[in-house]
């Protein structure tokens, strides 16, 4: 029984994570780059243009809009799960993780909004349309910003962690409510959506799935990077951090010399 949960306890150890993650990162970045290269080749060059609805080349924006939108939602859910783990099992790494995800999730939300707006201009003839997806993304961005604002407003990190976690959990209960009410409100006002025009033809699916995979890897890589920073901030006073900092200095000196 103990061994089954060992990974969980190891993940809970900042030192273990910090040491292991430096070995994970090169692999993650390498596979991200490969997948991203294939994805970009397809999405920018090899995939056909959209002819049925006359979107033409603008369909290529979808290959970043959809992955970014998906990850912005997934990111918030993961953040809330980490918050629950932190509050229930008092795991400090989980709090660090939820704090680390927030800026990256917010960036994904921003990308989804930006690309959505740019996509909207040739499609709808306007930069902004209050359609269900864009509106939900906007509110999601507000939720992320609220989380970051609350977390940054405390002098004491332990309090900030707990308070922001409660907010993330309350927020994640609200995400589906917000999504469905916005959708309902949108149909009321006869809006249109970029992405709700029937099933996607298979020739668009392949590049999309590759790009989604690439974005997932990218997201994981960035979260690990941010989490390493967060771990360092939180463990500044512990022995292993100073050992690590000290061990790195000679290498840099050599490089300079």
């Amino acid at each position: 029984m103990a061994s089954r949960w060992r990974w969980f306890h190891q993940l809970g150890s900042p030192k273990w994570f910090f040491e292991k993650s430096s070995k994970w990162l090169p692999w993650i970045w390498a596979s991200t780059l490969i997948l991203l290269a294939i994805g970009l080749y397809y999405s920018l060059w090899a995939s056909p243009i959209e002819a049925r609805q006359g979107q033409g080349h603008t369909v290529r924006i979808m290959y970043i809009h959809v992955p970014a939108a998906a990850l912005s939602m997934v990111g918030y859910v993961v953040m809330a799960i980490a918050s629950i783990i932190g509050l229930v099992w008092k795991m400090k790494m989980a709090f660090a993780a939820s704090r680390a995800i927030a800026p990256i999730g917010a960036a994904m939300t921003f990308i989804a909004l930006f690309t959505g707006a740019v996509w909207g201009k040739p499609t709808w003839g306007t930069w902004w349309e209050w359609d269900a997806r864009l509106t939900s993304e906007l509110l999601l961005l507000f939720l992320y910003l609220g989380f970051i604002a609350l977390h940054s407003s405390f002098a004491e990190r332990a309090k900030a962690d707990k308070a922001a976690s409660v907010l993330a959990i309350v927020g994640v209960i609200n995400v589906p409510i917000i999504y469905f009410s916005v959708k309902w409100w949108n149909t009321l006002h006869q809006g249109y959506s970029v992405t709700q025009k029937g099933a996607l033809a298979p020739e668009f699916q392949v590049p999309l799935f590759i790009m989604i995979g690439a974005f997932y890897l990218l997201f994981i890589g960035l979260v690990i990077m941010r989490l390493r920073v967060e771990v360092l901030i939180r463990e500044q006073k512990s022995r292993w951090v100073s050992d690590w900092a000290a061990s790195h200095e000679p290498k840099q000196m050599q490089k300079r010399g």
Binding site: L44, H57, T58, F114, L222, R226
Partner: protein
């Protein structure tokens, strides 16, 4: 896609497609370098604190409780 010209101009939507991709790329790259910068600056901060004042680190030691029972009252 049949030509380099089409690749650049994307029909007449080149500006839209390329601006989406470029902004996304810049945001993600910005995050990458920002986090790397944070890690490096933290490292040099820890390092400089180590060098400047060795006693300063871990100086605030945890305290212990000292229990001292008085003779019981009668």
């Amino acid at each position: 896609m049949n030509s380099f010209h089409e690749f650049i101009f994307m029909g007449k939507h080149g500006a839209y497609v390329w601006s989406s991709y470029i902004v996304t790329f810049l945001v993600l790259l910005g995050l990458f370098y920002w986090f790397r910068y944070l890690l490096k600056s933290l490292r040099s901060q820890v390092k400089s604190e180590l060098n400047s004042d060795d006693s300063g680190r871990g100086q605030v030691k945890a305290r212990k409780l000292k229990v001292d029972k008085a003779e019981s009252r009668d």
